[in-house]
Subunit: 219 residues, 2 copies
């Protein structure tokens, strides 16, 4: 644990602006959320307690409640944090891929298997949340919208690509197959004992793209 601990009791007689306080508060929140993720990964969502998060983050329980009203809210914010990270990742990769639909498509695929997004730890957390979506409409909302946004981007690529080079399948099914395979491989990575690695997974999906669309090289 890196102890970037702040000296307590430091009298800041007006030196610190309200802005930097806010920044610090945000940082504290992130710190807590990171700890939450670690705890869920280690003991499962069903065993997550404020005590564990407090111990892991090095922040007292009372203070933890101060930042996040209660346990439910902490979990909700954790999901939201995870989602934002995911969203920013694929959207920036998508934007960076330029206008070529094939490059866009491959970028979307690759980002789903990038180390930041696709660690076993992170996947495990996603599954834990997905497992509770039915009973938590808020989770469902976040997950559903996130999922749909990615689906749409992928569908858009497939559509453009289809118009460019044709393809053996209708656009919608192609997109469904590609996205499905990605999700399925995530599951494999989570459950199978290291049978698939990230890089292998990505190239396997690339091969599927090559099979669905008539391209000279599918990478």
């Amino acid at each position: 644990m890196d102890s970037t601990k702040q000296l307590p009791g430091r009298k800041q007689t007006g030196d610190i602006s309200s802005r930097s306080r806010r920044v610090q508060s945000e940082q504290r929140k992130r710190q807590i959320i990171e700890a939450t993720i670690t705890c869920i990964d280690r003991n499962g969502l069903s065993q997550l307690t404020l005590d564990k998060v407090a111990a892991e983050s090095g922040i007292t329980k009372g203070n933890l409640v101060f930042h996040f009203r209660n346990r439910e809210n902490l979990l909700e914010q954790t999901l939201q944090h995870l989602n934002e990270e995911y969203l920013e990742s694929w959207q920036s990769a998508f934007a960076a891929a330029g206008d070529d639909p094939l490059r866009q498509l491959l970028a979307l695929i690759d980002v789903r298997f990038s180390p930041t997004i696709c660690s076993r730890k992170k996947i495990s957390i996603w599954y834990a949340f997905w497992g509770e979506t039915r009973s938590r409409p808020k989770y469902m909302k976040v997950c559903g919208e996130s999922d749909q946004a990615f689906s749409n981007a992928l569908l858009q690529c497939c559509h453009a690509l289809h118009q460019q080079v044709g393809g053996s399948l209708d656009t919608k099914t192609s997109a469904l197959a590609i996205e499905g395979m990605i999700d399925g491989l995530w599951q494999d990575i989570l459950i199978s004992p290291q049978r698939h690695k990230r890089a292998d997974a990505a190239t396997a999906v690339h091969r599927l793209v090559g099979a669905l669309f008539p391209l000279e090289r599918a990478d």
Copy 2:
């Protein structure tokens, strides 16, 4: 299969034979497990308590503990129950499909979208357990083996089919794509607000099979 086997010379001291007692006990266990599934679906794995299961099953908490030592064991048995149901379903469908690899493959696909296996409720439970696999080696073992068995059957079909008719992709990737798409569609069914129905999902996967293998008709 279910024999009328009777042990000779058994002391039947009047009312209930030991056999029917055992049967009744098994039935009680099933009853409790069903209730557990319902409760997990309703409130999430993290909120599952013995009280809730007791209320739902109509069996007192004490008696519940009598049957399943503790909460952890109840969950474990629930997962095992779910897994057995799944295993029996696809294996019998596989066996019933005869020798034709294409028919076998389609049977495997269809069974994954059959009402018994693929209800939102059941999927939700699977995800909840998957989300805890990392911290529970026993869950991991059950899920992993189950997953691998299905994968192998599917790979076998693809291999045979590939030898029969050829195909645009190598066997392994084809199998990975098909299974991945199935898993991905499960996720869609769970998360998307009724965007995909079971039947649509199955035919979409059929179309993928048609695209991966040169068949006159893919359904």
